[in-house]
Symmetry: C2
Subunit: 128 residues, 2 copies
């Protein structure tokens, strides 16, 4: 049984496409093309989806003439990987350093702050 290797991190353009697939669900090239924020040629989207299929980032249903693409990686795990990478590359491996940075960056609403606080409470007991 062939064990598949984990798909690589999506590049920028690929991430934009994945985002569309995560929002819309299974989509055709045309769907994706029209949903993309910054306009790009139709065949560009097609090419990217072909490459992403090879990479294992999406799967393709070829039963119909017009192929239908699905995201093969979840938004959550992708985000997790991207965060991990950034933490490694720029924050010396410290997630907390990144958290502090992100919190300093941005205004947050009261609700959001409360959301974070809850997560914090939830992890209160952990030691390391």
């Amino acid at each position: 049984m062939p064990k598949r290797k984990a798909p690589p991190r999506p590049t920028n353009a690929e991430l934009a496409i994945l985002t569309v697939l995560w929002r819309r669900g299974p989509s055709t090239v045309r769907d994706v093309h029209e949903a993309l924020r910054d306009p790009v040629g139709y065949t560009t989207v097609l090419k990217l989806l072909q490459i992403m299929t090879e990479k294992g980032l999406v799967t393709r249903d070829e039963r119909t003439r017009t192929h239908v693409y699905r995201a093969a990686v979840s938004e959550a795990t992708t985000r997790r990987h991207l965060v991990s990478d950034l933490v490694e590359r720029a924050f010396g491996g410290s997630s907390v350093a990144l958290v502090l940075q992100a919190l300093s960056n941005t205004p947050a609403s009261r609700d959001e702050l409360e959301q974070i606080r809850q997560l914090l409470d939830q992890r209160k007991g952990e030691t390391r």
Copy 2:
């Protein structure tokens, strides 16, 4: 008076070099070359530093025969930009979403959690 454009985001290899400069302070090519974690050719480091000089990421003191390089961008602002970019690309612009992701990812020590809590308290009053 010529107004300089903001230097671009450092690439991966550039970030590794900047990290060395941030840790060591002003350094020669040789210094950087020896301090780098994953080994890479001497001239590779030299070339990168030359490019980074053009980009405005570092400055170069040529008064001595052996040039001395200094980081021209701070670690803090670089981190800020990198976080902003990731937030835009992968978190729909929501820093808080990234914070939650990062917190879920990683085990954090009690001290660290406390650190975050303090920052949270500090921003308690803010509305948006």
